[in-house]
Symmetry: C3
Subunit: 260 residues, 3 copies
């Protein structure tokens, strides 16, 4: 029933995200039924994060100034019981990114951490060989996710061909999704925002909200491909927005795939 | 005849706008026939604003640095008789935004102020209950628009289900448009840029140019929906760009709706 | 064979580009088969540029801070034999932009310079009358390109109705492309990124890589228009992404037009 709840309540999702995906993220949240607001100024981020339904911190094109504002926003969210989603884009690619993420995780109570396997591995300090464009690694993704969830005391989502959602103890796996999601920029980033929206209307069961969010997202991509198939990735991207908007809770219930 | 004039003269519209909508704004201006230029550096904004056909100031993702550059650009525009459109995105949502807008209105001669009812109400200091995603308020939008136009000595456009355009004395109402404009991010922001383009080729009758701009925009959205209907909001957004490009002055004349 | 090589190797293209076109650039690179990464922080740009397959410097919405980071990135690229493409967006429009470009050309070994005729003319100090939206000038574009290539010791691409590619001695002209490329924002900027990707897999023959990149790009636009024709520029933009993704080396070989 979470999709229905989002469409009814239009939760305000405060996104501090990278310049590559702002437009796509905002349109995706509108398609879902949430209300996006992007704001970065230190003078106002605490005000907005404090009244938001959810806060997204995405370090895709981070700067020192922006990180300082993220910490202000994160602390205000924590104080007001607003869930915080962290997307550690490119963690491991540079030591700057890894350090910033660890600093954020240290100073802000993050509710959900969402990344690909390579990013999450770099945060827990596991050496991992990244073997694909989606950041997949050789090794046990489920153990990796549990490790991160325990270390950072937050629900962790590791996305890939198999999506893993765990609080460190119980594990859910989702097999929805289409490979072309890796051919559209910002699909991982938008998922972080979508997770924030789902969690904002289901604070009592964060993990279940994450499962629904991830399945919803994957199913929409399957439908987009089924509809546009031969046309190409530009058409796929547009159809994906259409289906993010049209999906229902019943679709999620009927089409979620928890096994390979 | 303003559309024809824009397509002939390709007025340069200097946009200082938010990071969420820059691409959409630039593509919308190109569709209309104007020439967008985005520039934010203090070292050059006065040079560009001074030679532009119009200047758009949109505070959607403002920073202190950007506001300082906006004031430099605004003053250069004023000096060179370049019309200035202010879009007070999110005024009222944080006190920072409200204060920045009032400061801009104080230091720059704004030609046209465009916002939703909630934003404009916060600028004139009227307490208003916002009741919808489009920033609609309970209360008299026409009186609100007149109040703002008089207080800030500029043409004011309050957009919503009914669009109000006024110089504080004469009032025009427009009923074109489609509700899905609220499901595509940046449609309000792009309208501000479109207004700047229309005004740039019709400095002698600012108000009439605003009426044409608002009607043009609404009609394009009606056509986009008529064409794509069941497909969804991604398709609607693309068709909207197509129709922004294809519309003619005759379309505006024939399809403008000034009564409910 | 360069397209095939790009799709196999997925070269990492580090883009420091303007806020208007980041999303379009990243999606275009993904369509091509390259891996885009956008990063601007001084703390990390040298790390990323040093391991990238190519570096794009585009000054479309430059700031003093960003230019400093560009120089750090450019020097790291030079040190690691990573090709650097410079896109001098708006050079000549303000003296700030012209000076920044000349400074970049002075401090970084640029591999390829890509601009329209007006921009390149302003960099070599030639007075030119810009006569169209695509920055075309009155005068000899081939001589202009050769002049720039010699002056800055780099391959120079001057784009327009006729595209000119030269190392200062040998000249190639390409006549592919569609006028609607000027109606979609960022098509010039994306071409710079595409050139970086082609050059990254063909460092031994930079000029030939540029010829292929420019022809590839033009042919994709011709196909996009052929497919969507009457629909409009929004549809054209989407089809363009589809065809950037679908093109093959054989298409380039068969459809390249080197004469008017």
């Amino acid at each position: 029933m979470l999709l229905k709840k989002i469409k009814k309540e239009n939760p305000l999702i405060h996104c501090m995200t990278n310049v590559v995906v702002t437009n796509f993220t905002a349109n995706g949240l509108l398609a879902l039924g949430a209300s996006p607001v992007m704001a970065y100024a230190k003078e106002e981020v605490a005000d907005l994060a404090g009244i938001a339904g959810g806060l997204l911190l995405n370090i895709g094109t981070l700067s020192t100034d922006e990180v300082e504002a993220m910490i202000l926003a994160g602390k205000a969210a924590n104080k007001n019981n607003v869930p915080v989603v962290l997307d550690p884009v490119g963690a491991g690619a540079t030591s700057f990114r890894t350090e910033v993420c660890l600093d954020l995780l240290n100073r802000v109570d993050v509710t959900v951490l969402r990344g690909n396997a390579g990013e999450i591995a770099s945060l827990v300090g596991v050496k991992a060989t990244v073997k694909g464009v989606d950041g997949a690694i050789e090794g046990d993704t489920i153990e990796l996710a549990k490790h991160a969830a325990k270390k950072f005391s937050c629900v962790t989502i590791v996305t890939g061909e198999m999506d893993v959602i765990t609080d460190g103890h119980h594990v859910h796996t989702i097999y929805n999704g289409h490979p072309w999601l890796t051919k559209v920029v910002g699909t991982g980033c938008l998922l972080g925002a979508v997770v924030a929206a789902f969690v904002s209307v289901s604070k009592k069961d964060i993990k279940a909200a994450c499962v629904d969010a991830v399945a919803y997202y994957g199913i929409a991509s399957e439908r987009a491909f089924a509809e546009t198939n031969e046309e190409g990735i530009g058409s796929f991207q547009q159809a994906f927005l259409n289906h993010l908007n049209k999906m229902t809770d019943l679709d999620i219930k009927q089409l979620i795939r928890t096994k390979k």
